[in-house]
């Protein structure tokens, strides 16, 4: 059985008068199927940009990053919606931003939708063992 180790660190020296600094990590048991780091040119129709298939009761750990460029490689400032299939919006990623979350226990997948034009996103998912 394989292990996925995610680590998140949040720091700020000036968001508050007391410095913010914390780090959290985890050890997740994962198995196939998994998608390593992949790229997709996200369009404005979420249903055409499904990056994680519908679950069948299993849990997926999903990573998504907005790369900040479009399909031609030009810099963009448009946002990328992260949604469950069926257009259930979780939130929007700005250029350079990313997310990591578990998805599962239902029959929905994950899709991406650009606010306009195209956005190149990177993604990966792992199946909980």
């Amino acid at each position: 059985m394989a292990t996925l180790t995610p680590t998140l660190t949040l720091t700020s020296t000036d968001a508050t008068t007391d410095q913010l600094s914390f780090s959290v990590t985890d050890q997740l048991s994962v198995t196939a199927p998994h998608i390593g780091l992949a790229k997709i040119a996200v369009t404005t129709v979420g249903a055409n940009n499904i990056i994680q298939p519908a679950t069948d009761g299993q849990t997926y750990y999903v990573y998504v990053k907005h790369t900040g460029v479009d399909a031609s490689g030009s810099t963009v400032t448009t946002t990328c919606n992260v949604e469950l299939t069926g257009d259930v919006v979780i939130g929007k990623l700005a250029a350079g931003e990313f997310m990591f979350m578990p998805v599962g226990g239902h029959s929905l997948g994950v899709q991406l939708q650009a606010s306009s034009g195209t956005i190149v996103a990177e993604y990966a998912y792992f199946t909980k063992a």
């Binding site: 394989a2 680590t7 949040l10 959290v24 919006v89 239902h106």
Partner: protein, 142 residues
């Protein structure tokens, strides 16, 4: 007022070890201004509580086209205890003991309501959260 966020993922799931690393500064929606409001807290939810809206989970004040990022962790130590995460009536996934998530959070309307439920029977799950967001519009004095 920059908050820097870094994420690394490493795994031995492939024969060559995989490493993913990303870093960003949290920004307001479609602006280069930093997010400046941080709300942090902790709580406990028990299976007997049923499904509840989290303290930060009522998307009434922020509104559309605003940015927010949410960190949420299940601090339970029993590996069988998990927190079911819903956006209003849509189930997103489960956070098992020690698991966490970091997501962009819509907070647009009632469909974005962040709902939590401890499972299975008898589960008691402490949790912690940090919400990074744009300043809210203060409400009128009642």
């Amino acid at each position: 007022m920059a908050t820097t966020c870094e994420l690394t993922l490493s795994s031995d799931i492939t024969s060559s070890e995989m490493n993913i690393s990303a870093s960003t500064v949290l920004k307001k929606a479609e602006l280069n201004d930093d997010l400046e409001l941080i709300e942090m807290g902790r709580g406990t939810i028990a299976e007997s509580d049923g499904s509840k809206t989290a303290e930060f989970g009522l998307p009434t004040a922020l509104g559309v086209d605003k940015a927010a990022k949410l960190f949420f962790v299940n601090k339970a130590t029993d590996p069988t205890f998990y927190i079911d995460i819903d956006l209003h009536d849509t189930n997103v996934g489960r956070l098992y003991a020690g698991d966490w998530m970091f997501i962009p959070y819509g907070m647009n309307d009632v469909a974005s309501e962040f709902v939590i439920e401890a499972e299975p029977s008898g589960a008691v799950c402490p949790y912690e959260f940090a919400l990074f967001q744009e300043p809210q519009t203060l409400v009128a004095h009642s």
